[in-house]
């Protein structure tokens, strides 16, 4: 009896110990300055381990920085280099840096804020920044700029307005991008058509798209598409009608000119049949289609440059976005910024980091790695084109030229929910179940309610 109970006790102790050990081994990895394994963004709080450098100056201030820049483009070495360069230039500031994929980034950030462990600096895209600014989660960047006498004229002006809300600046731009027309040179050559140029009108683009939409093996299924549909706000921008009226309190897509613009997008799939439908895209995304030479023209931004350069049998270039059916030329202007969080206890140090990471030093490193376009004018004009010299796309300058007609998508409260409502109606229209005008009328009341909602 005694021996049996002793071995039972030993086994239970061993089991308990092994559980304790496994719990200890999954403790936080020190967010080090090399591309380490990043934990999944599940709301785990990473306690920064204080690694003091050998010759530490008297008072080392620590700041926590999170970012998603360069991660998804597989050039994350660039952002880590920026952090290292910053720490070398500012030995009194230690940066605990964490790079996350974009997919769950915002959820993680909000969870950390809700849990009281928010970082000091975070990279933000336009929608995130506007929502956080409205909720008071971001520090007033104007104040920090004024205290420091930082010169904002080094940035392109519309990259600053993207990150302002109610007249106050909340972030400094780290990158920006414009959406232009990518096209597949081989498919154009095959059909004997000249490449897209600035003479393109909407009708010319349609005509070319029709010539490039082919059923190559005669089985009744389209194998090659002429044109991909861009994200729907493009067609509203091209219609010249603002999405929301009366100071962002009234849904404006019921305006006939606006819904005509969106109907033109829907007709690309349903009437002219040059663009893949939602079902086609579920089977293969437009991105994959372009890489497999199954798509002739593709509205896209500079984030496509690196991945497409890596594909072997793909010859492509870019052209200016042709105007919409009403003759107005417009395209998207996107961007990412670094912002300082309102609850940060180290705002000055955080601002130093933001200046470095978005200014000429950080901009140069990021630009040389090929990430989007630097909003610092001198860097964009000198470095961006230099990094692309001799590589596709041949006409990379078009990305910069497009800033003359690129606009930002208006961001309002509850934008995601409103955008989903509009998308659902557009999906119905794409299936042929209703016209766009009917769809917009269906949701008019709901969207107006959301705009008024807290």
């Amino acid at each position: 009896m005694k021996r049996k109970s002793l071995s039972l006790v030993m086994i239970s102790l061993l089991v308990a110990l092994s559980m304790l050990l496994s719990a200890c081994s999954t403790a936080a990895n020190a967010p080090a300055n090399q591309p380490a394994e990043q934990p999944a963004a599940s709301g785990d709080v990473q306690q920064p381990t204080a690694e003091q450098p050998a010759e530490a100056p008297a008072e080392v201030v620590e700041i926590n920085v999170i970012s998603f820049l360069t991660y998804d483009e597989n050039i994350e070495g660039a952002e880590y280099k920026i952090v290292e360069a910053f720490e070398a230039a500012h030995p009194e500031i230690k940066v605990n840096f964490q790079l996350l994929p974009y997919a769950d980034y915002y959820n993680s950030l909000r969870t950390w804020i809700a849990g009281g462990t928010a970082p000091d600096v975070a990279s933000l895209d336009i929608a995130m920044l506007q929502e956080m600014a409205l909720s008071g989660a971001l520090a007033d960047m104007d104040g920090l700029v004024a205290e420091d006498n930082y010169d904002l004229s080094i940035y392109y002006p519309n990259t600053l307005t993207m990150f302002s809300n109610g007249g106050t600046l909340y972030g400094l731009p780290a990158s920006f991008s414009t959406v232009v027309l990518f096209y597949n040179k081989a498919l154009f050559d095959e059909a004997g058509i000249a490449y897209p140029d600035d003479s393109y009108t909407w009708d010319k683009m349609l005509e070319v798209a029709k010539q490039l939409t082919l059923d190559k093996d005669g089985d009744g299924v389209t194998d090659q598409w002429g044109l991909a549909r861009a994200w729907w706000p493009l067609y509203v921008l091209q219609s010249g009608v603002p999405m929301f009226a009366d100071d962002m309190t009234k849904f404006n897509l019921t305006d006939p000119a606006a819904s005509a613009g969106l109907q033109a997008m829907v007709d690309l799939t349903n009437v002219q049949k040059v663009a893949p439908s939602v079902a086609d895209l579920t089977a293969q995304s437009d991105w994959d289609m372009f890489m497999q030479n199954r798509l002739a023209m593709f509205p896209l931004g500079p984030w496509g440059v690196n991945p497409f350069q890596a594909v072997e049998n793909l010859e492509w270039d870019v052209a200016n976005m042709p105007p919409g059916p009403s003759g107005t030329q417009a395209t998207f202007l996107f961007g990412n910024a670094y912002g300082v969080l309102a609850d940060s206890k180290q705002k000055e140090a955080a601002f130093e980091f933001v200046k470095f990471a978005t200014g000429p030093e950080g901009g140069l490193i990021r630009q040389q790695a090929g990430y989007e376009i630097s909003p610092v004018q001198e860097i964009a004009e000198s470095e961006y084109l230099k990094t692309l010299e001799g590589k596709e796309p041949e006409h990379a300058k078009i990305f910069l030229d497009a800033t003359s007609y690129a606009q930002t998508v208006p961001v309002v409260k509850h934008w995601t929910e409103i955008s989903d409502l509009i998308s659902a109606e557009l999906d119905s229209a794409l299936l042929g179940n209703q016209t766009v005008a009917e769809g917009m009328q269906n949701i008019e009341q709901q969207v107006n309610d959301l705009l008024m909602q807290d």
Binding site: A114, A137, T282, T416, N433, D454
Partner: protein, 312 residues
Amino acid sequence: MQSTQAKALDRTKPVYKQKKYNRSEVIWGYLFIAPSLIILLVFNFYPVLSGLGISLTSWNMLSDPKFIGLDNYSRMISDPIVPKIAWNTVYYTFLSVPLNVIFSLGLAMALNQRIRGISIFRTAYYLPVVSASVAVSMIWMWILAENGILNYALNSIGISPVSWLGDPKIALTSITLVNVWKNLGFNILIFLAALQDVPPELKDAAKVDGANNVGIFKHVTLPMISPAILFTTMMGIIGSFQAFDLVYNMTFRHEGGPARSTSVIGFYIWQNAFRYSKMGYAAALAYALFILIMILTLLQWRARRYWVFGEE
């Protein structure tokens, strides 16, 4: 000298109310359940209760929660999307549960034979249950694509291709059937055990009384496994009402399916919480779901005395 087995047990009261335990046994008992109990309290009960609190607020995680009373619940009633969601969820549940029970019962009976290699089949049917739902989603999205294998096979026998996941009228049915396929194994296991518990003497007696196979099934097997059927039905309904993983992974761009046709309530809760930053509304939806499932479960539980053997 009080031995716990010495006293005769009174059969009208539950056993645990009669035995006299000594103090140290009680303390050890609580100590042993303490770790699990603490984990349950902290990670299960506490979040569920705070969810109730959150449902009475408006909270976007960036600023502090704002108390708004029952506003979220009244918004739920007037939200035009909710009826669509409710219908999708009900359709999903009342299609997948009966199909699941019927097919897994049939398969369990087929697998209840003592032939060589039967364990290979049993394993094969159980594999989808333990497969990651993301992997299952990706494979079925590929099979059900417009130019996928299923359409290709149908095409070769002359049926024109169907947009299984793109057509709002059939997208939800497609996802439901994938869900049925995925969970068959779990119920097969339960039914196999129940079938093997049916006493062969009863079947022999029925045969002697002149019953054929159908009769034996109807009058002996079914009643004997009715507790298992009750269990799988109840668990099936509870699980299906909360379905999320397959729907989330199989919808394009996570917008709720073509024209919201595959949005079930689990998905809508996720959308409100993590895409629209409306934690309060999502919590209210979750509580409404909880109450609905609770009512349905209670109804089934009460109804069991009418058809489950051994529970009259």
